[in-house]
Symmetry: D2
Subunit: 308 residues, 4 copies
Amino acid sequence: MPLSAPLTGVVPPVCTPLTPDREVDVPSLRRLVDHLVTAGVDGLFVLGSTSEAAYLTDRQRGLVTETVVSHTAGRLPVLAGVIDMTTPRVLDHVASVTAAGADGIVVTAPFYTRTHPAEIARHFRLVAGRSPVPVIAYDIPSAVHTKLPAGLVLELAADGVLAGLKDSSGDLAGFREVVVGSRGLPGFGALTGSELTVDSALALGADGVVPGLANVDPDGYVRLYRRCRAGDWERARAEQERLCGLFRMTGAGDPARMGASSAALGAFKTALYLRGVIDCPATAEPQVPLSETETECVAKFLAGAGLM
Amino acid sequence: MPLSAPLTGVVPPVCTPLTPDREVDVPSLRRLVDHLVTAGVDGLFVLGSTSEAAYLTDRQRGLVTETVVSHTAGRLPVLAGVIDMTTPRVLDHVASVTAAGADGIVVTAPFYTRTHPAEIARHFRLVAGRSPVPVIAYDIPSAVHTKLPAGLVLELAADGVLAGLKDSSGDLAGFREVVVGSRGLPGFGALTGSELTVDSALALGADGVVPGLANVDPDGYVRLYRRCRAGDWERARAEQERLCGLFRMTGAGDPARMGASSAALGAFKTALYLRGVIDCPATAEPQVPLSETETECVAKFLAGAGLM
Amino acid sequence: MPLSAPLTGVVPPVCTPLTPDREVDVPSLRRLVDHLVTAGVDGLFVLGSTSEAAYLTDRQRGLVTETVVSHTAGRLPVLAGVIDMTTPRVLDHVASVTAAGADGIVVTAPFYTRTHPAEIARHFRLVAGRSPVPVIAYDIPSAVHTKLPAGLVLELAADGVLAGLKDSSGDLAGFREVVVGSRGLPGFGALTGSELTVDSALALGADGVVPGLANVDPDGYVRLYRRCRAGDWERARAEQERLCGLFRMTGAGDPARMGASSAALGAFKTALYLRGVIDCPATAEPQVPLSETETECVAKFLAGAGLM
Amino acid sequence: MPLSAPLTGVVPPVCTPLTPDREVDVPSLRRLVDHLVTAGVDGLFVLGSTSEAAYLTDRQRGLVTETVVSHTAGRLPVLAGVIDMTTPRVLDHVASVTAAGADGIVVTAPFYTRTHPAEIARHFRLVAGRSPVPVIAYDIPSAVHTKLPAGLVLELAADGVLAGLKDSSGDLAGFREVVVGSRGLPGFGALTGSELTVDSALALGADGVVPGLANVDPDGYVRLYRRCRAGDWERARAEQERLCGLFRMTGAGDPARMGASSAALGAFKTALYLRGVIDCPATAEPQVPLSETETECVAKFLAGAGLM
């Protein structure tokens, strides 16, 4: 299904269910897609940070994209991340995910290498020049250690290089600059990846939202999105605050024992497992799994949110 | 050629010559290997940061390893970097480079993801458990945004997980802690990647050095290494200072126009091109090439060091 | 005037006008206070970052506090920053500003030293234990290089140590956690220092706003605040976007020539000078002044916003 | 005693002993000075980071400088730190410490504010223009979050603004650039603040060393310095390694309970207390004191080094 211009609505970054021996669990992945589609989401984003793309081998990335594309069968657009260090490696992923049917690609700034804004711009231009589908910039400084400047995003948007931005920087003022600055560009969509300020982002003009927590509670985010679109800000805020409470499940994992990725992805997958959507809560190596006590803590958050 | 235990001497991280259209330039790569071997280096390290590993596709990485392994033909050991974000992806590279004949692998901490010391330890243990050749830890916080704690390196060394450390952190005090702490571990080699303090590192007990600048002037680093080993510290310092002067070629590229990787790798490759070792100074995308004026500046540094 | 509990409304961080030889310009400071009070602001905050507190000597700090307290004459509350590295030095400032009549103090985490959350908590508890007036925590990681965790702020609020938070971190999700978590604490006020997302902060429940740009356009921020309080979100957004446009004056100073503090404070003071509120746009040493061209650029932003 | 040109030798940053109620303990401070002078050090540095200058009130700073200057009575030069955020505040400290008799001042880059190299240069030039005694730049990025570029230090040295550098950055390559680049400047002294690589710094040409650990073991550092100057590198290394072992006392404090400043300064003061030099190991607020177990751990390090 070709990308609407611009992409709008709720577009969850889809978790990648794994078997106990860390292979992609295809039946669980299909059930997760159904779980999201049934809730009324507007698109799917595979191979993002929440999908553990950084942990998946190329073979596994291929299997994920093929599974989700074939299972959604054109009912809604599928974006795919092409997360890698630099242009040549990213272009290999572009070829793979578009061959597998992705409707758009999501591209970060280069990482590992010490880069420069001119090189970031060149990177996006080169990738877009070789991509058969629209390119969405992925601003995620916690992972790539560079913030995409709003001015750079707008310049690339005006030149037709970028069809959108997924902003996971947490910098709402910078996001606002992109939203306001791209108003005259009908093909450009500004999406926030910050699950705790979806109402704020939509109020200031965001086109859509890409909340990792929507794996666990897609109905909540669809409801939140619709209330915002209806201008019912009071009830939107109540729903957002409920979801903020639920998000605190990402604090279940002990920070003395594991990193923030293990804790967040472990909580999401544990919740999906407890809700019966996926068969196993395993995260990829070398992440640390949640303990039994931490799993019970996640269960309490689910119960508190009326999800169990 | 199996790794001596521990690896010692001068082990340059080999640049990856590219053609004007950014394909691996195999004849130039062979000439570069000859240039280094003839100078008397003790090992070669392919697919490190200086090799632009972050920019090479998997196919190109394979071609580089095969070319260097077959061209050295066992005359000296070849280490290979397996630079990628997390354990499953690194393990794919381990399979590739060891199939191609690498004698040891060089492994960074996970990156892109937000990690934890326990996960870093797990990562090295898992990789070592699956590698048929010795594992050398690569401490490069400027790229992976995590510093390997000396205590962690020593614990993994004592457990036989690590056969060595390549320290590109610039933190000589931390390196010294590893050097002193690993003295009772005969199989462990401590190598510095800091080209400007090779004499200091050897004076405090380093086993070997991995200087990127040795691509340009391998004779200088071999001479420096031998003077240090002979305890001729005064003449070692003079040679080191000459090499520090030469290293300033990495400042030829204008920082207003390019990042530090473009400037350093561009200068090394331009110098190799000007010295007639490789056919083309191109660096991989999206790096910015040196201008004509900047190239002349590199030429002056070469002339000043008596290398042209 | 004693602090209402909690502080609400628009509370500008008052610029400190200087003479050409960098002495506090008392007549200009009084005119600036009048300019703000006349616009209808709800409180004043002296000796914050926007006030160049980091650049003022103790004598100058005293003069600023005395001037503003005596000139406002109880018409509205005056908060004073007590910015210094650690507890003993902060306590000296507490004694000075409260002797001069400040109604509340604004306290950052320790800086310069390498600190720990337990030490930050201890710092706030010790300062509050010795302060005769309420203590507001100042979260400004760009200056102190530590982010105040929401949980720590809430713990100190619950214990009565803190009467409020001024959040200049730009992290709206963390601010929201404090806003929601402090709802049961009637004496606690959550204020945002982010001038570009005032509408967002108020929509999610902030009590007040502390926008540096309100020096230049206090009427705009008072209007914005009132529209938000009236639930007129559409017109609030329009006003906020107008102010976002005006804020871009902080980009007039060339980043190749000066730091971000010089550019932002220079723009605010130049605008106040051009509007006739203060006599001289000088900033404190070692900041770089705006050039003539950069001053003209600020003038254009003022004209564009209808302020000249 | 006027500064020799340049300053050389061992110049300990003098701890500031405090009474149990956190007042400067003048008799203990005098004993500490005697302890250092007797060991044969070449100068004293008061009001640096190791002196807890960031924690001392202006009154306490004055008392420290006066006590040390009068007690040394010209037997050796006394440097004083003037640590504060920006030029005007630093100039107030310059007036105080020079009135109290300091022979040189030690000045950091501005901090708290977001600064620029041009502003850092301006800062040093303004301070030097108003200081009656020589100015030594203090490079301490862990505290001020800016690294002094070697080129900037050399430019200011060539212009006669700086009489020296105290490098606490841990970047030996950058320090080497200053050492080599300032060889033609007879009045300039390059001092390292890194206590774990004193032999390395002296081997590459440093003029002197400013090791915090020299409070605890001044004889060790004097011995190390003399062996280096005699070219007895083998025995210098043995002494340095013994001191590295002793330095591990700074790890006695539990990092889950306290910051790195509390741990390091707490260990030094505890050791001085256990050695009978000072009367009380208290550190300034809000630092966390060492526990009884942690104190025993420090005692073991002292015993292991033959200091108890």
